[in-house]
């Protein structure tokens, strides 16, 4: 008897916590009262995130608008093939205030600010942030604003399209030192400045296009490494930097039609 009871209690303790799934779901016809499972999805990212443990994934089951959300832990939010949407007016799209070693991944998401939204994606703190295959349109305190307070944090921006944001498409102004942003295949148009890189910031920009912005294309008070990119048709300087800022070019960028084009320091490709 006793050994059976012990065995039973051991089994009970070792059962997985099925209600606290690693992966949760949202649906355009979901309900935040649901547990956020594949068959009983939530309706908003904010609703689903409370049901997703740190390190988990919120998936989008079908098309819909899933609302703004504040992220305070490691998480992946993936719009999947439905490209989940966040549409806001007068507020931020998504805010990241996570821990110093937390990893936040935002993928396949569409952010619309209607010309009144604050920041599309606002980073206050996180160890690592990935922004992949996202669209950001119509925000008034930048499309992506990085004010990360975590030293040596990393931000990766890949396959992102940003239109019509002021003051910048991407504003890199971390308060901490050693934050490196790697931007690959970004397309930034119709903003005031395309990319603003602040004093503490380092940005490696490859295969990206910064065109048709009303003011400067790329403005650097920090360090910019620029390769294989296009900076054209901006209403201000194409490439603007002022000491101690730098823009190092790998001599393979198309910079034309700006007012004026500006110039760079030359780096040596390897």
């Amino acid at each position: 008897m006793k050994s059976t009871a012990t065995l039973a209690s051991v089994l009970l303790v070792s059962l997985p916590l099925l209600s606290n799934a690693q992966i949760t779901w949202v649906s355009g016809v979901g309900d935040d009262a649901n547990p956020g499972t594949r068959t009983a999805p939530c309706k908003t990212f904010a609703g689903a995130i409370t049901k997703t443990p740190a390190g988990g994934v919120i998936n989008v089951l079908d098309p819909g608008g899933f609302g703004s959300v504040t992220v305070t832990k490691s998480i992946t939010i993936d719009g999947d093939s439905a490209e989940g949407s966040i549409l806001v007016s007068g507020t931020p799209g998504l805010t990241i205030a996570a821990g110093t070693t937390d990893v936040v991944t935002l993928r396949n998401l569409s952010f619309e600010g209607l010309g009144t939204g604050l920041t599309g994606i606002h980073i206050l703190s996180a160890g690592t942030v990935h922004i992949e295959n996202c669209e950001i349109n119509g925000f008034t305190t930048s499309g992506i604003a990085d004010g990360n307070s975590v030293s040596n944090a990393a931000l990766f921006i890949k396959d992102v399209t940003i239109h019509g944001c002021t003051p910048s498409g991407i504003s890199l102004a971390p308060s901490a030192l050693g934050v490196v942003t790697t931007i690959q295949n970004a397309n930034i148009t119709g903003c005031a400045d395309g990319i603003d890189v602040g004093t503490n910031a380092t940005a490696v920009i490859t295969k990206s296009t910064v065109s048709g912005n009303g003011s400067n294309g790329i403005q650097s008070f920090g360090l910019v490494e620029l390769s294989g990119s296009t900076v054209t048709g901006n209403g201000g300087e194409g490439l603007k930097f002022a000491k101690p800022g730098q823009i190092l070019s790998y001599r393979n960028n198309l910079v034309v039609g700006n007012t004026p084009d500006g110039k760079t320091s030359i780096a040596k490709p390897k």
């Binding site: 098309p63 619309e112 397309n187 048709g233 198309l254 910079v255």
Partner: protein, 272 residues
């Protein structure tokens, strides 16, 4: 008694006009109905139906696969086919999307245009300040894939990740009435009459694009073309054809071969 009826009349007056409300985001579905409000749970059937229910600056999203028909756009809007790549199938001299939006901005994304060999043009830009055409497919129009005759000064047009096949006049006909700048990136133009025709007053920046196997000229320019990292190959007529005062500036990184003849750039630029 009296105060109640007064209250009632105040309430009636203050009720929102629910039938005329416009949403910032509307939806269309392959099994939708234009009698619906075009909401997520009661989607419309066509872009033309949904646009009347979409607020200025809003978005029309595609819920599931379908053919959402031609549409004329007269305000700021985004039409996004999302993952389903909404179709616009037209024929018999009709255009796919006509943009006559004054000084507004229009974004067309993830759409597939089919002209069945008899439609006029896929996208006609009559007026707009800013047009984004992203991740679209255009096939089989008698006129142009993209026909830009914009009357709005200083237009900015961005064409990205778009494939244009089999358009009789040209893949892109860029002839705004006054100054315009068109940025073309990762665009593939094949089997059209001309590939890309650039008019006077027009600046076209063409990057990482392919203009190949068109029947006549690859790229013609009466304006200014900046050409970088692109391929202009195997066109039936001249590859690069600039007519003074038009120019084609090459950044020395383009493959121009197999044309009839290849032609050459007006001048060479230098990458920075």
């Amino acid at each position: 008694m009296r105060p109640l009826s007064t209250l009632a009349s105040v309430l009636i007056v203050s009720l929102p006009l629910l039938t005329n409300a416009q949403a910032t985001r509307t939806w269309v579905s392959g099994v939708g109905d234009d009698a619906n409000p075009a909401s997520r749970t009661a989607p419309g059937a066509t872009f033309a139906g949904a646009i009347t229910k979409t607020a200025q600056g809003g978005i029309i999203d595609v819920l599931d696969p379908g053919d959402f028909g031609p549409v004329t756009i007269t305000k700021s809007i985004t039409i996004d086919g999302d993952a389903n790549e909404g179709n616009i199938v037209v024929s018999n001299g009709i255009a796919g999307v006509v943009i006559n939006a004054g000084t507004n901005a229009v974004t067309l994304r993830n759409l597939s245009f089919e002209g069945l060999g008899s439609a006029s043009s896929a996208i006609e830009i009559l007026s707009a300040s800013v047009v984004h055409i992203e991740n679209c497919r255009i096939d089989g129009f008698l006129g142009s894939g993209i026909d830009d005759s914009n009357t709005t000064t200083n237009e900015q047009v961005f064409v990205n990740d778009t494939t244009i096949h089999g358009c009789g006049t040209n893949g892109l006909g860029l002839a705004p009435a006054s100054q315009g700048t068109i940025t073309i990136q990762n665009v593939n133009v094949t089997a059209c009459g001309d590939g890309i025709d650039v008019g006077a007053n027009t600046t076209a920046v063409i990057i990482s694009s392919t203009v190949s196997h068109n029947n006549n000229v690859g790229i013609s320019s009466l304006g200014l073309v900046d050409l970088s990292s692109s391929a202009v190959t195997d066109n039936g007529g001249q590859g690069l054809d600039a007519t003074k005062p038009g120019k084609i500036v090459s950044y020395r990184n383009n493959a121009v071969t197999g044309n009839n003849p290849d032609g050459k750039a007006t001048s060479l630029g230098t990458l920075k």
